[in-house]
Amino acid sequence: MNFSRYLIRRLGYSIFVLIGLSILVFMIARLVPGDPARAALGPRASEEAVEQLRSRLHLDQPIYVQYFYWLKSLFQGDLGESLFTRRPVIEDIKEFLPATLELAIFAGILMAFFGILFGVISARYSNTWVDNLIRVFAYLGIATPAFVVAIILLLIFGMYFEVFPTIGRLSAWIDAPPKITGLLTIDSLLTGNFAAFFDALKHLLLPAISLSLGGLFQEARITRSSMIENSKKDYTYSMRAYGVPERVVISKYLFKPSIIPTISILGLDFASLMGNAFLVELLFNWPGLSRYGINVMLRKDVEAIVAVIMVLGVVFTVVNIIVDIIVAYLDPRIRLVEKGE
């Protein structure tokens, strides 16, 4: 089996996952008690008007037909209207998703980079004070929920050292770059607006640290233990025995197989990072989808809730596809061997 066949199969699986997700989400939307048509028109509307709306919304059809109508409107970008913002949900998503994506991607990069870095340092100096220090931080980092880290950072940087901003995505006196991707750092780079770029980066730092810390130390621990385990394998000794210098043995022949487990769990860590984003965005007043999600949930805004879940589901799926592709690229045992062999 070659790489492209693996890719096709992997994408095929994701389509099934997405179909499953859409059915689940549709069920949630429809199982909410009460008649949506009645709810929309209010208690005083005539039975006739309600009946008319029911048939316009296809609510009088069998449930699987309703599902296909729902799916069709989904593909047309029609996600209904939010009771909370009083406008099409798709508009809300377009507005809030980029902020969350930017935060999550930045946090994800911190998590992967520093997780692997700390793991390698810990393994290289295992059982010395450096390793012990990292391990103590790891226990703290894993045990402390993201929102607690956020509060601590807010206290430290909001009240004592006002070096990093603690609210929003951009300072008021900075001109926002024109909206291209919606990710401020990228848009400001694209338009050459470096003042905005650094300002956006500064705003990203604290919420991203709060979000990434738990996953970061998880990754560090996994990297450390797989490096130590692989360092006992014959293939590390054999390269050494054939005169390959120690630095190459470590940075190449030990490093690559050791980061594969770390990268494999990045997808999961990214998912929990998105979950933690709900509270962290609220705390940093980050105008993102998670904060929006919490608001619409508190108001039982069904259409908007459904849309948020669906969007997050798509983001997870895409992240997991990317992670799987990287892993398969790094590990021939995955891409070359048929499943079940």
């Binding site: 006992k232 394998k233 014959d234 293939y235 000794y237 054999s238 390269m239 050494r240 025995a241 054939y242 005169g243 390959v244 210098p245 120690e246 190459v248 190449k252 022949y253 690559k256 197989p257 594969i260 790094l330 590990d331 021939p332 045992r333 070359l336 061997v337």
Partner: protein
């Protein structure tokens, strides 16, 4: 006079474990002359691989230690070489074929990547271009009789059969001209005909390149066919040494005799149940002769002190008190 290539003197290797040490090697002695083929036999766990890893200085760090002993290779003590010197030694003088070819190949790099690096970092090939290195890699695969070297260079270990992996390992080990090759149970994991081909290949390469070989094996048959001199090892040290024909015609050490008893005889009807008992615990090894708990001929003295080698004649020595008076 033959030139002594490798001289292991009273080598001890301990592994630090929770609460103490596993005292695996307790004074191992071995001598290899240039160009000769020496066998090393012994039960599983007796320390054959550990001895050879000590020679290559690839014992696991930091818990594998060599508290005592010397490993003299061409008048230099391997144990006290500096990093650069030991790397040079591994590149140009001694090499080792690992016991398990699958484990010895890195699963996430192609054979080409690994083979090319071994060529690239050998000092002799300093500054050679990719093309030349690749040609060297192709030639080295041809030398171990692998067909279609180009395809193998582009393959990952899982894409090759066990026999091919074993040949690749030999190619890796012999990337440079070496003076001593340590072959740790080559081909044991393969079926008998392929194992035979592998041994034949090693023999041929050793003859062509005038290399000394230490051949480790469980199989007395293999030892008898492919070696000139044999060391028998038991629980961390050598118990008998003789030229191969001599050892088979006149085994002296009770352990060697027991080993020979275990070899299935084609003619006999007797079943073989192996040597009674098992290799001792290295945490609390037996005192004196480590074989004494299993030895049918043990005497009072055997539990007190480790028996030294007694020279029976020019090419036969044995570490057993039974032969005290004969040297």
């Amino acid at each position: 006079m033959k030139e002594v290539l490798l001289d292991i003197k009273d080598l001890q290797v301990h592994f630090r474990v929770y609460g103490g040490f596993l005292k695996v090697l307790n004074g191992t002695n071995m001598r290899v002359y240039s160009g000769e083929k020496v066998g090393l036999v012994g039960e599983t766990g007796c320390g054959k691989t550990t001895t050879m890893k000590a020679v290559m200085r690839i014992l696991p760090k930091p818990h594998g230690i060599t508290p005592e002993g010397k490993i003299i290779f061409k008048n230099k003590n391997v144990l006290s070489l500096k990093t650069q010197e030991i790397e040079r030694l591994r590149r140009n003088e001694i090499s080792m074929i690992f016991q398990d070819p699958t484990a010895a190949l890195n699963p996430v790099f192609t054979i080409g990547e690994q083979l090319l690096d071994v060529f690239r970092y050998s000092k002799k090939n300093d500054g050679l271009k990719g093309k030349t290195l690749k040609q060297m890699a192709v030639d080295s695969l041809r030398a171990v009789a692998l067909p279609d070297p180009e395809r193998i260079l582009a393959s990952y270990p899982i894409q090759l059969s066990g026999g091919m992996r074993q040949r690749v390992c030999i190619a890796l080990a012999l990337a440079n001209q070496k003076q001593l090759l340590i072959a740790d149970e080559p081909g044991t994991s393969l079926d008998v005909t392929i194992q035979d081909q592998i041994l034949r290949l090693i023999h041929r390469l050793a003859e062509e390149r005038n290399m000394a070989v230490i051949l480790i094996s469980h199989s007395l048959g293999v030892i008898r066919e492919w070696t000139e001199r044999v060391y028998v090892m038991y629980a961390g040290s050598m118990v008998e040494e003789a030229t191969t024909p001599k050892l088979f015609s006149q085994p002296l050490h009770p352990y060697t005799q027991a080993l020979m008893e275990c070899v299935p005889r084609l003619t006999g009807m007797k079943t073989n149940e192996g040597i009674p008992g098992r290799i001792p615990d290295y945490f609390f090894p037996p005192t004196g002769c480590r074989f004494h708990p299993r030895c049918p001929k043990k005497m009072a003295i055997c539990q007190e002190e480790k028996p030294p080698f007694y020279q029976i004649d020019d090419n036969h020595q044995v570490a057993c008190y039974l032969y005290k008076g004969e040297s």
